[in-house]
Symmetry: C2
DNA sequence: GGATCCATCTCGACC
DNA sequence: GGTCGAGGTGGATCC
């Protein structure tokens, strides 16, 4: 990884065009050739960047640019598209290269997929006598997270979210409506399961006859088989 | 901006938990206290990070950690939530501070707002004889991107997206339904215009009688008056 | 300050 | 390789 602190101007042309006026910034060149231009603030997103696969070519500035104070022009060209990042370097304040090696990568826990998996293994969370028909039950407009049968044998479409918001209720509504057209399943009701359900989402769900269930992730994980845990 | 290259292990706890095993990485500490941990690959997203507002506290490792090779523990605590990033430093390979100053910021062109503007100026893109009633036509549930009249004088609500997905169809459906309650406008039909329309969105739109139109941004821009361009 | 919506979204999973 | 949905989404804008 090459780290350059430089006074520079940056121009991007690709899916949009974007321009950064002259200022001092960090230019990070990764081992795969990708380039990130960071300022000393904002969030984790760079001001401008080029994603791999891409190649960096350093060139002399033309006469006009040289007169404007440009000492080098870095052109980062994406290999698969017309996307191009041009960094006009005025002054280099720091330039260092470091060998970082390959990163072993991130281990995550607590995301929706895991929540869905835990609920699939423990459908009795929704009620005694419930059983799972299948996870990711396919429909023409996408898969339903869980399709179950309650203790009375009635089909239930379950939408699992980490945070239950109005979008999720809309999604579940579409699934239930569609599944109800299938005579082998109908009548199908809906359950909206999330760690946290926003009041507006709860209101809309209730209004549509959808049952809301808030689930306790730690409790689900507590009774989970440790061998299936991520860590 | 402080740039540290270090052999480290990183743990995040907050909306999820995430763990990075021991490896050499770049740790970027920005002026606002935010911290980014980058590997030498991937895209612009750090492996792990803490967004501002947050504070960084450096502490000695406890005995157990010290025996494992930890020389310092950086705790980055978010000021508004329980989110916490813990960087266990084993070895510092580089450590430098640079004063970057405040960045003048990014100038963009070519986003959805611009697409909407171009279409408003060229409603004949949708058909001969079409005319624009107004952009951002107000409704109680938000403004419709474009309200037009087609060659037969029938009102058309146009939703403009860069990428047309299912959410946009839902949004347009709500607008059309609402506008159709207005006897001065009814009947109102819908047009879903985007540079790219996802198959599922197209299916849903068609099912609801909404016309899909894919628009060519470059072509629109090509016939655009240069004087109205941003740059 | 909160809600809503776009994004050069990125990223992973699945087909 | 395409498509689709989630995200510690982030960030801007509107109210």
């Amino acid at each position: 990884m090459r780290l350059v602190i430089a006074k520079c101007q940056v121009d991007y042309a690709g899916r949009l065009t974007a321009h950064l006026p002259l200022a001092t910034r960090l230019i990070m060149v990764k081992a795969d050739g990708s380039v990130l231009v960071h300022s000393d603030g904002g969030s984790y997103k760079p001001l401008n960047w080029m994603s791999p696969p891409c190649t960096l070519v350093v060139a002399e500035p033309d006469e006009e640019a040289a007169e404007a104070g440009v000492t080098a022009v870095w052109t980062v060209q994406n290999s698969k598209s017309d996307d191009r990042l041009v960094v006009s370097i005025h002054e280099v304040l720091h330039d260092a290269d470091h060998d970082l090696g390959v990163d072993p990568g991130l281990v995550k826990d607590g995301v929706e997929a895991h929540l869905q998996k835990l609920l699939a293994e423990q459908v009795e969370t929704f009620g005694v006598g419930w059983r799972l028909v299948r996870r990711e039950y396919p429909t023409p407009i996408g898969p339903v997270d869980l399709l179950c049968r309650d203790d009375a044998g009635v089909a239930v479409a379950v939408e699992v979210k980490r945070r239950g918001e109005i979008d999720g209720v809309e999604q579940l509504t579409r699934y239930v409506e569609l599944l109800n057209r299938d005579p082998h399943l109908s009548p199908v009701r809906g359950v909206f399961a999330a760690q946290e359900i926003k009041p507006q989402a709860r209101t809309l769900a209730t209004d549509r006859g959808i049952t809301c269930v808030t689930v306790d992730y730690d409790a689900l994980r507590g009774v989970d088989d440790p061998s299936t845990r991520l860590f």
